[in-house]
Amino acid sequence: MTQQLKEILEKLDDLKKKFLKDISEAKNDTDLENIRIQYLGRKSEIAAFFNLMGKIHSDERPEMGKHLNILKKYVQETFDNAAEQLKPKATSHEFFDISLPGIPASVGTKHPLNQVLDEIKEIFASLGFTIEDGPELETDYYNFEALNIPENHPSRDLQDTFYINEKLLLRTHTSPVQIRTMERMSPPVRMIAPGKCYRKDAPDATHSPVFHQVEGLCVDEGITFADLKGVITAFARKLFGANVKIRFRPSFFPFTEPSAEYDFSCVMCNGKGCSVCKGSGWLEISGAGMVDPAVFNFVGYDSEKYTGYAFGMGVERIAMLKYQIDDIRIFYENDLRFLNQF
């Protein structure tokens, strides 16, 4: 390398340092414009160096050209960045009121009961249960007979029924779906049946002639009462949290034997006793039990080989506990001020 090129390269380096100092001190458009003219304009120092190219030895021209181009590109980019930084943020200085209300899009809501039902379905789906359905207008056979509730039996009194005629009625529970499902498939069966049910109860704060129930059924070899307790416990904890306790009490349902009622520890007071649980610390949820062999006989399952459990739950009851609602009728009023809360 000749002395001449060496000197030029040193000068380029000085020029770069000077540029960096100038650009870092640029405060406004005027400063920028001066810098642009000084370093990037046609009469700039960099342009002067390009003009110098012809005056050096031809062997060294490429080397010098390379350095010059790198410097020019560097200066250009640095300048552009700095200019971008200094640009005013808004093009207009007009007053813009960000506090004016946004224009709302219309979005609806799902009914709170269905939201709870969705949650229940999701929990049981995650526990491996299928979701089944059946008609609301049922026959006496599916609603009663096949569930071991014969005619002229006092257990019919447990449910006040709306009849259409001798054979047709409005289902009083979703249990008929148990029978319909077992008729359709052989064990193992693990299903829930959510849906509307009807009982001849005059509407009041805790009764509605139309209500929703989820029925569950699990049949296989080796299914036990301990499994039933396990699934109810799993459900309760998923719905109300890990601290909820479960209690089973003996009861009677024609289609289960043994039969039980199950209670959750009160979710309001954690079992200490409050007005919701009437001081008992427990909330009655619903019934459950081991499928009665008579029911298996109706659907042609071998009751020695297979055992199973069934359980039910009232969706309104659970929704009332979840949302702390004390009057069931509000679900069916569908007041938009109510619906929009969920």
Partner: protein, 795 residues
């Protein structure tokens, strides 16, 4: 079923508090509804002794009693006829408090100053009927507070008994459960009958059972020389505590023994029986009978009657007859204790609409071996309270004896069903405590079922007995672990979820309405016969909905009444109708309905609100279809009686899928709503069938599209659908879409014409189209519009 703690203590010793007993019973499966202490509603009533009596000079039916209350001797005016010197009576003095917040003052009665009163049970709120002065026991101390004389605060336990436990429809049965829990034994009251030797029951009455299938066993006793009167205080108190009315000493005893043993008894006035033969038979069609509540019933064939050889005297197991009831003049009594077949009694009670304490017990099944005990217990008590003689021996007509029941119980099966490990010894112990007799042979137990446990018929019933006494809460739950690969929700269920998600997304609130509606409204929305309830709660809830709309209109109304005018609602649910006029086949269909009223969007400062139109709802429904990727639908004008001319019917592949439209002015008037209401109802099953689950990717066009706008002038009467069809047919090569973006009718165009502007998009999947290609296709579209629709091109 109600029982008092004192009553239970007669049959079993226990040290637990009433609350603890309630909890024990609940955990044994006898769910206690309430534990209630009977509170006295009086204050400062003291025991006084009548020392002298004289007649009121003016009013002969009044007497002036001189009463000693230790602190004073006072003269009180009294209206009761049976007062006598030496009687101990409750006395209210000046300042005493009576039920209903009454404070006793000194009163002048027909010239006599009475500084207080002698009280009857009714006045003290102790019973409802007895207007007679209450006479206290000899042992009451003069001057003592009445509350200390009476058993302070009897505690009533109310049990919500399940229908499988008739053995607990008597206090002894409940005591037996407590004894089983406490490992003690019950003490049944000892029978000590004082029968006369001069008279045999079989000489005065004969029993013939004509229908043993309905009455397998009938027992009876005869008493004479008895005196009907009111019951003693202890008996009235017991009956009233459990919700029964006191009638007279004989009837009260039969009720008392029923509440004690669970066995209903019936007392006949023997002198009213025409022939001295009891015939138990089914009624003959057309017979009528008047029960003791003075109601006449017409009887049908299967109803079981108790007859006196000439006429019916009781509706067996349900209610006695007016013609043979115990009256004040009755001296001779025939007492019945029988077993009637549950299903027969239930049928009769249901058919006649009578539910008595007696029928409730018979229809659940009484203890067939308990008849004589109850009969003897009642006979003894009647004699103790009403005197008389008990004839020797009892009638026991038992044409169908009950077999002893024995069941084999496999202990392995218990544990297999419960998921527990209960040892044989504990199973035996539990059963023995419940009065089952057991013989264990290794893991198999032979169990003899006591006669009162009519609910135990199978091995599984015994397993339940073991489980409930062992305690459900001692069975350790199995932790739930499962990995499921199955698709839990059926496609139908997932489709419904999709519909709901889209509906919420396009701005609708989901509602849930009653599926029972007023029949008049149900009819307005269908041409099919409506499904009506045979036994509705009310006319408004008497018919199954034929459409989701009527129920939703009630919601619209409800919210409008609360000044919420802009509403968009949707609901998913079932609708019902008879699919044939004979009502032998019905349809239950799943629908989704939309309804909107009021303005589009919320009021805001940027754009003025606009009233919703038919096209808004149509657009909503089409958005739903677009989301569902269902495009093969057609519209036709709807002819539905509840919609006006702004309405369409929608079909997919020739199947009707629903409608969109505006409600008729008549309906709006009925609803008293002045604004337009737009409704749509779609059949979910039809939509489901046309939904594609397996979606496939379509390549995104790689070459740019070309856009052309055309403005047309056409006849006003030509529907847009027709224009679109012509455009699509002619643009068969490159045209991808034609969207109407301007529509005009009015002064700017000639009459009977309308102006339409479509935006047409052309592209090809394999190359960029040339201007020439596009223009040529556009030209054929224009030609086609001109020739088929007589359209004019606008500049």
């Amino acid at each position: 079923m109600k029982v008092t703690v004192d009553w239970l203590k007669q049959y079993v010793d226990f040290s637990q508090s009433p609350k603890e007993v309630a909890s024990i019973l609940t955990m044994l499966g006898l769910e206690v509804d309430s534990v209630r202490q009977i509170a006295y509603e009086f204050e400062n009533i003291i025991v006084g002794e009548i020392v002298a009596i004289r007649k009121h000079e003016l009013k002969g039916n009044l007497s002036i009693c001189t009463v000693n209350t230790v602190t004073e001797t006072i003269s009180l005016v009294c209206g009761a006829p049976h007062v006598a010197p030496g009687m101990k009576v409750p006395v209210a003095v000046v300042g005493s408090k009576l039920p209903g917040g009454i404070t006793v003052k000194s009163a002048t009665i027909h010239g006599y100053e009475s500084p207080g009163m002698i009280c009857s049970e009714a006045e003290l709120g102790l019973s409802r009927q007895s207007e007679i002065i209450m006479v206290l026991n000899e042992s009451a101390r003069i001057g003592q507070d009445l509350k200390d004389v009476l058993n302070r605060g009897e505690v009533v336990i109310e049990i919500d008994l399940t229908p499988n436990r008739p053995d607990c429809l008597g206090a002894i049965g409940i005591a037996r459960e407590i004894a089983a829990f406490n490992r003690s034994t019950i003490k049944k009251p000892k029978i000590n009958l004082n029968e006369t030797t001069t008279l045999k029951t079989s000489d005065v009455i004969n029993v013939i059972i004509e229908n043993p299938e309905s009455c397998p066993r009938y027992t009876a006793r005869y008493l004479e020389g008895i005196k009907i009167s009111h019951s003693p205080h202890w008996l009235i108190k017991k009956l009233e505590a459990v919700g029964l009315r006191s009638i007279n000493n004989v009837v009260d005893v039969t009720n008392f023994v029923m509440m004690e043993t669970g066995q209903p008894l019936h007392a006949f006035d023997y002198d009213q029986l025409k022939k001295k033969t009891i015939v138990v038979r089914h009624a003959k069609g057309g017979e009528t009978f008047t029960t003791l509540d003075e109601k006449e019933h017409s009887l049908s064939n299967q109803m079981l009657m108790i007859c006196d050889g000439e006429k019916p005297v009781a509706l067996a197991g349900v209610m006695g007859g007016l013609n043979s009831e115990i009256s004040n003049s009755t001296t001779r009594v025939l007492l019945e204790s029988a077993y009637f077949t549950p299903s027969n009694i239930r049928k009769t009670a249901k058919t006649l609409g009578i539910s008595s304490d007696s029928s409730q017990r018979f229809e659940r099944g009484v203890d067939p071996d308990g008849l004589i005990y109850a009969l003897d217990r009642a006979s003894q008590l009647i004699q103790e309270l009403a005197g008389g003689k008990i004839a020797q021996g009892c009638i026991d007509c038992n044409p169908r004896p009950f077999e002893k029941r024995a069941i084999k119980l496999r202990v392995d099966r218990i544990n297999q069903l419960l998921g527990a490990a209960i040892p044989v010894a504990e199973v035996v112990d539990i059963l023995e405590r419940l009065e089952f007799k057991t013989t264990a042979n290794k893991n198999i137990i032979d169990v003899q079922i006591p006669s009162f446990r009519v609910d135990i018929e199978r091995e599984v019933d015994l397993i339940e007995e073991v489980a409930r006494v062992y305690g459900f809460n001692r069975i350790v739950e199995k932790s739930y672990s499962l990995i499921s690969l199955s698709q839990s929700a059926k496609k139908e269920e997932r489709f419904s979820q999709l519909l709901r998600n889209i509906s919420v997304g396009i701005g609708y609130n989901e509602v849930l309405t009653q599926s029972l509606i007023n029949g008049k409204w149900a009819e307005k929305f269908t041409d099919n016969p409506c499904v009506r309830l045979k036994n509705p709660l009310s006319e408004d809830l008497g018919t199954l909905r034929t459409s989701l709309i009527p129920g939703m209109l009630q919601i619209i109304k409800w919210n409008k009444n609360r000044y919420i005018n802009d509403q968009r609602l949707f609901e998913l649910g079932h609708i019902f109708y008879w699919s044939d006029p004979n009502q032998s086949a019905h349809c239950e269909e799943q629908k989704i309905a939309f309804i909107r009223i009021g303005n589009t969007g919320q009021i805001n400062w940027l754009s003025a609100p606009r009233a919703s139109t038919f096209y808004d709802l149509k657009g909503d429904v089409l958005s739903l279809f677009e989301q569902l990727k269902i495009s093969n639908f057609q519209f036709s004008n709807a002819e539905l009686k509840f919609l006006d001319n702004q309405s369409l019917e929608l079909s997919i592949k020739q199947t009707k899928a629903g409608y969109i439209g505006r409600l008729t002015p008549e309906l709006l008037e009925k609803l008293d709503i002045q604004e337009d209401i737009f409704v749509a109802e779609l059949d979910i099953t039809t939509l489901f069938q046309n939904y594609t689950w397996d979606k496939k990717f379509h390549p995104i066009p790689r070459y740019p599209a070309t856009k052309r706008d055309i403005s047309l002038l056409i006849d006003e009467q030509i529907p847009i659908q027709k224009v679109e069809e012509v455009i699509k047919l002619a643009g068969n090569q490159f045209l991808k879409s034609a969207r109407l973006f301007d529509y005009y009718k009015g002064k700017q165009v000639s009459q009977n014409k309308k102006s339409l502007t479509f935006s047409l998009i052309f592209f090809s999947t394999d190359r960029t189209l040339t201007e020439k290609e596009v223009d040529s296709e556009l030209e054929s579209i224009i030609q086609s519009l001109k020739s088929t629709l007589n359209a004019q091109l606008r500049a």
